[in-house]
Symmetry: D2
Subunit: 167 residues, 4 copies
């Protein structure tokens, strides 16, 4: 199973703590973590996942892997700038959004557009034309986020993505 | 001056009316209209702009120009799918969002991230972590949207984009 | 009709001369010129087209329009880096390659893959597994390049791209 | 170390054999294999790598992972169409081209542009303006290709990409 964790490249200590905890729990459940590969929330989730022997993929905006945080196992170098946000989202079966800036908001939008479940921890709320949009599933803890992300993960159509760690 | 108009590929008659009116007013002010080139709001704004002899650019997601609406003068064929949303936004000096679905939300997010002003007509509202984000400038009419979009248009750094029509 | 002109951002005086001449001839025939929007061949073709009152579109790799050459009418800002090469090619009905480096070679490859005719002036030659690939139509003058590019231009499926200048 | 293997989605039995052998040898040397994730050469190299317990990354052009070949461990879903070729190349430290069509040619061009070494097995030859370009390092066997690709692999600037398998 592949789950994305999205959030800003600079974040509060509380958000970093949450992200690290999410990374640990995902790794313990044998889930591959996909993120944007940079600092802040992305770095914290990778650090957490690696502390539990997980596998991390960082989908980077720049021209080489030099900006990847040190806990990225597989740097995917796109050179696409912010258009890489689409790639982060589409490569996942569900995403956990932690805090987040406008980049994160673009990722949430892409996920909802692709019917990829979005679990939110202290993140954006949306309303359209005065009416609330409750597509983002709000939770209050790292454990709840991971539970929801795993139970709601979108099944690939004809391809069983094997968890490398659950083999 | 180049202004973007964003909105869904299917829309209500009221939204289409608003978009057509925005297109007319932009063309009358000599502004080049950039949009995603498809139907709905995109088609209506192009139709409006062409009715006043404007110039329209459609930045398309598909592999060829066959999906462009008939009022697109210059089809830019990206083949990028939804990643073309970034290109729509970055090619503008300000954007007017009319109604809109998750694709439009991703464009709003990209614009705010790039400090490109976003003017909203019956579109998304955002809050983050319980706090309202009022970066989208809400207006109530096509005329107000066009006025705001022109007055707030971001200046290119060292390049004067001449309006072809105001020469 | 929309024709692309591709070549390196730094070029010899002879290549610049050829590109400028190609731009003049395309504009005189009412063709919209699409290019990568930067210097060298791209700048020369835009300068030529504008000297004959043509319309030029520059599809830029960077984050804003500040790198566009001064003869670009419509800067399309992609932020995609070299991935913008796909967009340059797909937006055309045929391309004229003048000289060129590896970026130009990637554009030639994309054009041939999409069955967009490629006319070559002092550009790449290809062979595969020892066998020559003569898909690039080699010509010896700007006039021949423009003639071929217009006569071979790929027709859009269901969309007649009107030349703004031939109306 | 991360090495790319590029080639067409349909290929001759000889090319498939070569690709499978390349995959086996890369896996035995602890190298992560990156490819475009589809059939032909891409499928053969993944099958080879998995037969030796390697790790494979498939960077896919489509909207979901349903087109990935069954030996892809980590499907990166780009939704970018052929623009994903840039991502395949930039994510590697060197690439091995086997046979190949125009898509492969675009990848070779991108690699050479980014100074990523290209090792060729029965693939394209280039000349520019009548002069041969010998940037593609031609070899005659899978073993020679793998040796060259490993010895010439580009070092990331400030980031040591650890081989998961050599730890």
């Amino acid at each position: 199973m592949i789950i994305g964790v999205i959030g800003a490249s600079s974040c509060s200590p509380e958000e970093a703590k949450l992200a690290e905890n999410v990374g640990e729990l995902l790794a313990q459940r044998g889930v591959i973590v996909v993120c944007g590969g940079l600092g802040g929330v992305m770095e914290a989730v990778c650090r957490g996942a690696k502390s539990k022997d997980g596998l991390t993929v960082g989908i980077l905006p720049g021209q080489d892997s030099s900006m990847a945080n040190p806990w990225v196992d597989i740097p995917v170098v796109t050179g696409l700038g912010e258009a890489r946000n689409v790639v982060v989202v589409k490569s996942t079966q569900s995403v956990i959004a932690i805090g987040g800036s406008y980049g994160t908001l673009s990722e949430i939008a892409y996920a909802l557009k692709s019917s990829i479940p979005v679990i939110g921890l202290n993140t954006w709320s949306l309303s359209r034309n005065g009416q609330e949009d409750d597509s983002i599933i709000k939770v209050q803890s790292a454990a709840a986020a991971v539970d929801k992300a795993i139970s709601l993960a979108k099944r690939p159509k004809n391809y069983e993505i094997a968890s490398l760690h659950s083999q």
